[in-house]
């Protein structure tokens, strides 16, 4: 085969994942195009590719979810492939079909396998026929009365979920019959708003449980499993800390889970990167949760252990290259050491995880070997309320879990981020907590406990403030009222299109 896999790739996303995909495209020698909404003009991702195209105003429906605008941007720039990242259009089978009709490769599975696996109801049927164990539940939940009937059949507590997407949106826990009306309304509304689809399904709530998922790479003919990631530490069903391997996964559980995930991929004729999510009960039994037919936020954990670049593998597979080429000359990689990822989010962990906005006055990452930072933010950037609160991911690798953990804590302690409240201190608390150290991590570990806010300001911080106040203005950095934060000063050659 001559030439590269694609002429030019458009990255239909924003933030850290768009930056990260561009990095791989550059390493592969493939020109890249990014897209941005009005408030994202000048944002790091809009400067990460070789070209950048404005696609519309702030609301996702008019920009990052606006299929026609994105396809038009691809046509205009001559891109012959689109990488959707995660979220937005990444699990939208209709968009994948539109790409195909437009003669543009969608870097992800075919619309057919997406329909078979991405939709939760369809995925449960595919899983059942592939012999994968399921959590007891019901589909096509269209009324509060139906919630009641099914919840009484499988037993409270139950979980309501959006049939059309993941990421925690449209999910509500129902502990008792009295909670049904408000939970049903809220789940339906969130599902409609996030996915344009208000269909719900119901599942028995397995408790206590760990969230364990298997990474798959498949070329439509053969599939390889790349070990597990444990993502039990969540708030509002959004993951906070992910690691591999899981302390709770024995070789026997791993073999069974990987077998189930490969069976799912094979049953769907899946091509690309895929993740099968499972709930692991304390008895070692596991149940299929859902399939993510895209790159996961936490794919970096697998990359740190395997040395593989999963985005590169996605690109090669989408270009029709065989799995063997995507894996490289050494075949299925050996998974080494332990990796842990922490998600840095613009939210106040001590006040209901409320999203935070503001201007990043100072941003300085801690650096050391065995550490990776995937960031979508830059000093001087103003964070807007329109999108997901994820700012960056910090991933530490170590020979064992404790080395990775202490490295990640050092990284979080050594990172200075001023101007916007983030969950940085909370991530440190979680990683230092006895539950995490002891591997006692369950899906309700975060929310079942009260995590007190650090209320007193440490003396060194007050000394630093006093020193700051008595330092001449010309000698200090980071103040908001200086011109160096104008995004215009930081735009590259492609910024002013």
């Amino acid at each position: 085969m001559s030439g590269g896999p694609f002429r030019k790739v458009l990255v239909a996303n924003r933030g850290e994942i768009a930056v990260r995909v561009c990095r791989t495209l550059r390493a592969m020698g493939i020109p890249s195009v990014t897209v941005y909404s009005d408030p994202d003009r000048g944002a790091p991702h809009a400067r990460a590719g070789d070209e950048s195209v404005a696609i519309g105003p702030a609301p996702p429906a008019q920009s990052y979810l606006h299929a026609a605008a994105i396809l038009e941007a691809a046509r205009r720039t001559g891109a012959d492939a689109i990488h959707p990242g995660y979220g937005f259009l990444s699990e939208n089978a209709a968009f994948a079909a539109e790409c195909r009709a437009a003669g543009i490769a969608f870097i992800g599975p075919s619309p057919e396998s997406m329909a078979r696996l991405g939709d939760k109801s369809a995925a449960r049927r595919t899983a059942a026929s592939a012999g994968v164990p399921l959590v007891p539940g019901a589909e096509e939940i269209g009324s509060a009365a139906r919630v009641r009937t099914e919840a009484e059949r499988v037993g409270f507590p139950v979980m309501l979920k959006a049939a059309g997407g993941g990421g925690g949106r449209g999910m509500r826990l129902v502990r008792a019959a009295g909670e049904i009306p408000s939970a049903f309304d809220a789940a339906q509304r969130e599902a409609k708003s996030a996915f344009g689809d208000d269909r719900l399904l119901l599942e028995k709530y397995v408790h206590p449980a760990r969230h364990v998922e298997i990474q798959i790479l498949s070329d439509g003919r053969e599939a390889v499993a790349l070990g597990e990631r444990e993502c039990s530490l969540q708030r509002r069903h959004q993951k906070l800390i992910e690691e591999s391997p899981s302390v709770a996964v024995t070789p026997a559980i791993r073999a069974a889970m990987q077998g189930a995930a490969v069976a799912l991929a094979t049953a769907a004729g899946y091509s690309g990167a895929m993740t099968a999510e499972f709930l692991l009960g304390s008895d070692g039994a596991f149940y299929f949760l859902e399939v993510n037919t895209r790159l996961q936020v936490e794919h970096t954990v697998t990359e740190m252990r395997s040395g593989l670049d999963l985005v590169r593998a996605q690109v090669l597979i989408a270009a029709g290259r065989p799995l063997a080429e995507a894996l490289g000359s050494r075949g299925a990689p050996e998974l080494r050491g332990h990796a842990i990822e922490a998600r840095l989010c613009a939210e106040d962990p001590y006040h209901g995880y409320l999203p935070q906005t503001g201007t990043l006055l100072v941003l300085a990452w801690h650096e050391e070997d065995g550490l990776r930072v995937d960031s979508g933010i830059a000093e001087g950037q103003t964070l807007t309320p329109y999108y997901d609160s994820l700012l960056a991911k910090i991933i530490a690798h170590g020979r064992d879990r404790e080395e990775a953990r202490t490295r990640l804590v050092r990284a979080l302690r050594g990172t200075a981020l001023l101007g916007v409240t983030t969950n940085q201190p909370f991530l440190i608390d979680l990683l230092e907590d006895g539950a995490f150290r002891g591997g006692e991590t369950f899906t309700d570990t975060v929310e079942a406990r009260a995590w007190p806010a650090p209320d007193t300001i440490p003396d060194p911080a007050l000394a630093a403030v006093a020193a700051y106040a008595s330092t001449p203005r010309s000698a200090r950095g980071g103040d908001e009222d200086t011109d160096r934060y104008s995004p215009w000063q930081r735009l590259g050659a492609w910024g002013r299109r």
């Binding site: 006055l361 100072v362 300001i457 003396d459 106040a469 008595s470 908001e480």
Partner: protein, 163 residues
Amino acid sequence: MSRKLLLRHGGTPIALTYERKGGRVALDLGGRRFEADVSHEGFWFDVRSGGRATRCAVARGRRGLWVSCEGRSFFLEEERGETLAKGTPSADELRAPMTGRVVQVAAEAGASVSEGDLLVTIEAMKMEFRLVAPENGVIAEVRCEAGARVELGDLLVVLEPRA
């Protein structure tokens, strides 16, 4: 010459008197005194006190000072005469905790509510947040409607507390 900083952290006032001589800072925090050696480079401030070295970062935003210390950041409002006292919301004003969109208004003017009752649901960053009554009371005013965009700090509901 000693100087004074009037700060506020999460509603708690902090009166900090300090004196700086070269790299040495002597602080008085409501009668509690301590000293530290501070050196700085740009926004980094290396503080040595009681045999312990700590790296801090400080920057000024539009509304006050941000300081971070070993991964924990604090926002300190700077007191400027009366303006801060006037601008401090009273306990019975429910304000938007972030910029977003009102999806549901459960509060009705004149209605009695109990602590924890849902008043308004706001959506931001594709997530819903429930704002609840901070105490028992009667809804005096509802200042928002479903579908409306609200900015951080906008007044949403006025609650008259009732014992």
